[in-house]
Subunit: 132 residues, 2 copies
């Protein structure tokens, strides 16, 4: 058993990042659903879609929802109510975050949520050798 993953992003941001990360790892150890949000989409339908996808990927261990930008529409959708499902939401999606998550597929929801935040944060860095 493992946590489910739902990525809610602007357009193809989530898909591009997931494809690149899974190609690099050579395997996708988690159940992942993707949701692309465009400006044409209707928020109520998006929330409904998010709830359906959470139901699809939840096997009783909960769902980690990742989104790209806190305060934007995908993030507002990500933060909707999911009724009986246990859901944590992390914003600021980047490849280090996704890689860290996919490297710990056996963790529970709380631990995986912490890994998402630490992986995403640790991965933002000024590259060495370029200091003034």
């Amino acid at each position: 058993m493992s946590v489910g993953l739902l990525i809610i992003s602007h357009n193809d941001v989530g898909r591009a990042m997931l494809n690149a990360t899974v190609a690099m790892l050579g395997v996708n150890p988690l159940r992942v659903a993707l949701m692309s949000v465009t400006t044409e989409d209707e928020p109520d339908e998006l929330r409904q879609q998010a709830r359906e996808l959470v139901r699809e990927v939840d096997r009783g261990e909960g769902v980690l929802v990742l989104t790209d930008l806190y305060g934007s529409t995908p993030s507002n959708i990500a933060n909707c109510e999911y009724a009986e499902h246990q859901v944590n939401v992390v914003a600021g999606l980047n490849m280090p975050m996704l890689l860290r998550i996919l490297n710990y597929p056996k963790l529970g929801l709380e631990e995986l949520t912490e890994k998402a935040v630490s992986g995403g944060t640790d991965g933002v860095m000024r590259c060495p050798g370029k200091a003034p």
Copy 2:
């Protein structure tokens, strides 16, 4: 005058994120070049391409190079030598980073580099209301 921007990412990650961010802002205030790196690409050619793109976007104020994952091929390309050009490299590309950068188009290279790191880091968060 302003700093140039070069985004070097796996496949379409950079393009997807730039398109979404610019669509949200309604404007792109910086000169931006994109480089998509696939597993088929030859590193020497990629480095050559990166140098050409840095030359294209540099108007004398330097270039900020963003990449998605430190230690991966796009990041290794991003950290190549750029001869006479002043270049800083930041890894961990996410939408909050890109949005922060595009919100400060008049900053110099050092200040913009700091904004990239702080914007990217600040944007990684567990969303409120979802704490246990």
